[in-house]
């Protein structure tokens, strides 16, 4: 099945994306999806707005590569990754990762793997607006730890 990778300013319709994955292949018995949502707080400050920038071209390649790795690990059906860029406000949906598979185990794992690596390898940057002005968001240690966890599993298996 083909992958759908999309970088866009417009909001996405999660239900429609899931429906599309389901209808694309009747052998798939599970769809797992992750939706990343903009929070109104970060590092203890209220955040009123966020601007997302990316590296056009490289972003799509990096996401395709991550999906390819996930497909090497698990039997996946369809994969959809949609990431928004531009201006976002609290409660706006930022990213959708949706994965279908014959059974839920692969779908859960594939979805988690893709979002974990998206966070550390796909070239997106967030700039947020707080009462104290604008600032670039720093990477999170917990995101790095999540990826290290996958790499550790590789070494032990």
């Amino acid at each position: 099945m083909t992958d759908r990778v999309c970088i866009q300013q417009e909001p996405f319709d999660t239900a429609a994306e899931i429906r599309q994955l389901i209808e694309a292949d009747q052998a798939m018995g599970a769809v797992v999806n992750f939706v990343g949502v903009m929070r109104d707080m970060n590092e203890g400050d209220a955040v009123s707005e966020m601007t997302l920038e990316h590296y056009p071209g490289m972003t799509e390649n990096a996401l395709q590569e991550i999906i390819k790795e996930a497909r090497e690990r698990w039997q996946l059906g369809g994969v959809t990754v949609i990431h928004r860029v531009g201006k976002l406000r609290p409660s706006d949906e930022i990213v959708l990762v949706a994965v279908s598979a014959e059974h839920r185990g692969e779908a859960f794992d594939g979805c988690e793997y893709i979002i974990d690596f998206l966070k550390t390898r796909a070239p997106f940057w967030k700039k947020e607006k707080t009462a104290r002005g604008e600032r670039w968001v720093d990477e999170r240690q917990s995101d790095i730890a999540a990826v290290q966890q996958w790499n550790k599993q590789d070494q032990t298996s």
Partner: protein, 84 residues
């Protein structure tokens, strides 16, 4: 010539989004290019003096500092990514 792109806080700090540069030697590596950029001083030195994390992509693939550069390459410099 190589095309150099700067992203996010680097672009803002340097005030440059994109530039073209001639390779200073046929054996130039990413590390050598970063050294050359840091010699421009000020913001350039702050970013490229090795004290902060700089991610590098050559032709849109992430590489390490010892990667070789070739004429016509596109080099992207950016801070750790924060999408998702």
């Amino acid at each position: 010539m190589i095309d150099i792109l700067y992203f996010a806080r680097f672009r803002e700090k340097l005030g440059v989004e994109r530039e073209q540069l001639a390779l200073s030697s046929p054996q130039q590596t990413v590390a050598m290019l970063m050294q050359e950029l840091s010699e421009r001083g000020d913001g350039w030195a702050d970013i490229f003096n090795g004290r902060q994390q700089v991610l590098v992509a050559v032709n849109q693939e992430m590489v390490k500092a010892d990667a070789a550069l070739n004429d016509g390459d596109e080099v992207g410099f950016f801070p750790p990514v924060t999408g998702g």
